[in-house]
């Protein structure tokens, strides 16, 4: 299994009381709540944490894109990835991902990703996402064209990376007379493409298609939901006539490790609950603008609304497997159990979440890396001495 350190870079200094009064930290929370001096310290702290990930032995460091929110301070994951590109030497850098439909010109993604790939000598993992619903409100991009724009932007980027330029691209949303991207990416035929998702049939059908076989990552969901979507992915692959290797499946989940289960719960509680109940929260109209999901999915969310949009405690989150928290032995055991059930080949751990401060984040990272990760990395590897002669 590959273990990946995932960071959201939240505005951890957020005034939680006033964020609660606004109902959400997305779209309309006034940016007067952002203090640039605190921001300066946070960005540098977070970059240090991510760089430390390489020293601790993670296989990859992962960043993502969110706009106009305290949830994550990475409107451009390109900037974060660029900062990491020169300060790390070995780890892969995963951008999970760039929100293609929000870009007015997808070739800018092709170019920026190619630059990072060439600078790092092929350490980039290219994630593509549609952006979350709230970002269609902030950017004004029409959500009913989101899928179309995503697919077309994707096709343009892949062709720009793989076909000799210049060539012309004619689409419904993007028209380019001369596609001729300099630099070309370092990896052949192009950087691996990963698709993170909150779970959608459409995305799974598309990502698992034999012409793509893109690894699918289920993000921040209860364990049984993760299991359901990963199974759906495997079944869809079977329907296409092939068996998905574990490396095509991933799970992104917040994790907290401390000396004992009790310590872990006590230390993580305020920070996890701030993450789940303040940073993540938004009304359904913001989360799912028209066309962002199918109407069937929307109705399913409506049905589960009471549960999904209510506050939950850390205990409930642990019970749901939305959060993995405990002593090293507990966390190791839980992941081993989940892995036996789901066989994900990529585990993305969010070791800083919400308001979790620097000292606890570092200790969490160290305990996880030293006492949990080595065992997890061996999962799915051929057992030594058992190789067929």
């Amino acid at each position: 299994m590959q273990v990946i350190l995932f960071h959201l870079m939240p505005y951890a200094a957020l005034d939680l009381e006033s964020a609660r009064k606004h109902g959400t930290v997305w779209v309309k929370l006034p940016n007067s709540h952002f203090d640039p001096e605190i921001g300066h310290r946070l960005y540098n702290r977070y970059l240090d944490e991510m760089e430390y990930g390489e020293e601790l032995g993670f296989d990859a460091i992962s960043v993502n894109e969110h706009h106009q929110t305290a949830y994550g301070l990475m409107p451009s994951p390109i900037v974060t990835a660029s900062a990491l590109a020169r300060r790390t030497k070995r780890v892969k850098i995963c951008i999970l991902g760039s929100a293609l439909p929000l870009r007015s010109h997808p070739l800018t993604v092709a170019e920026e990703y190619a630059m990072i790939d060439v600078i790092t000598g092929g350490r980039l993992v290219a994630g593509f996402v549609r952006g979350i619903g709230a970002e269609y409100h902030t950017f004004g991009v029409n959500p009913t064209f989101s899928h179309e724009r995503f697919h077309e932007a994707h096709d343009l980027i892949i062709r720009a990376w793989t076909e000799p330029g210049p060539f012309a691209f004619q689409g419904r949303h993007y028209n380019v007379q001369y596609v001729n991207v300099w630099p070309r990416p370092y990896q052949k035929p192009h950087p691996p493409v990963w698709i993170p998702s909150q779970g959608s049939r459409e995305t799974i059908d598309w990502a698992s298609h034999p012409s793509r076989r893109y690894p699918y990552l289920q993000t921040f969901s209860p364990a049984k939901v993760v299991a359901r979507y990963l199974k759906m992915y495997r079944d869809t692959c079977k329907g296409y006539g092939y068996e998905a290797p574990d490396s095509q499946l991933g799970w992104a989940v917040p994790v907290y490790v401390a000396k004992s289960d009790e310590d872990a719960r006590r230390e993580a509680k305020p920070h996890f609950e701030a993450f789940r109940n303040v940073f993540v929260r938004m009304p359904i109209e913001m989360l799912l603008p028209p066309g962002y999901t199918s109407r069937e999915s929307y109705k399913n969310v409506l049905k589960a609304k009471a549960e999904m949009f209510a506050d939950i405690t850390i205990d409930k989150a642990i019970e749901l497997g939305l959060f993995v928290c405990g002593s090293p032995a507990t966390v190791r055991r839980k992941f081993e159990e989940h892995w036996r059930e789901m066989r994900f080949g990529n585990l993305l751990v969010l070791l800083q979440f919400g308001t979790l401060p620097g000292d606890l984040t570092r200790r969490n990272m160290e305990l996880f890396a030293r006492e949990v990760m080595p065992g997890l990395k061996k999962l799915g590897m051929p057992v030594e001495g058992a190789a067929v002669g």
Binding site: V141, P143, T144, P283, I284, E285, P289, L302
Partner: protein, 256 residues
Amino acid sequence: MSFAQSTLRLDGCNVSLRRGGKGAPLLYLHGAGGAPVVLPFMEQLAERYDVLVPEHPGWGLSDEPEWLENIHDLAYFYLDFLRALDLKNAVLVGSSMGGWLALEMAVRDCSRIRSIVLVGPAGIAAPGVQPADIFLMSPEELTRNLFHDQSFAEKMLAQPITPEMVDIQLKNRHTVARLAWEPRLHDPFLPKWLHRIEVPVKIVWGAEDRILPAAFANEFKRLLPKAEVEIVPQCGHLPQTEKAEQFCDIVFRFAG
């Protein structure tokens, strides 16, 4: 006056149509919320006109054709509609997005249009005035914001919601977003061609409109200097519902 419901096939799309009354044709173009039922103002108008109330492609019981991608597609569809039904000298009454639609039709072809009544119309931007963000409102908030007199909202909210109604609400909302998400509820190029509208235009606006503030009427007046503007006091976004009698009087006086 009783309305007959039928389905009309046009441009590859099945459209649900309610029609009632006698007289000159009056085409009612509904707004974002659709026209799922015959309302009292329609009955009243049907005393003097042949009232046609289609549900637009993408709304209600009508199909969602693939060709429907922007308001212009809908405008061409309704110009085809006027021709297909051979409606001549039609009065167009357009509410909100339907008002925008009437304008998009009229800048293209007024030959079958006698006059136009715009009710709290969308369609243009106005400096310093912002439409409410209908896409961030819950269904309840939206209903409340439609009316000045909250008893209308209470009555609507008290109705039981069937699964079919939920489906239709989601369908309507999808089409509204498709046509009006960005630029929000207007076409930035429309003002350039408003001078092509040579038929009389009446603009009716609820003084207390919380969806499209009545201040938009000033900009319309600037762009359509010959249009008559009437502001209805103590009234929200839907004068035809909230002040049905007064609204019908305005139509009768204006359109004859």
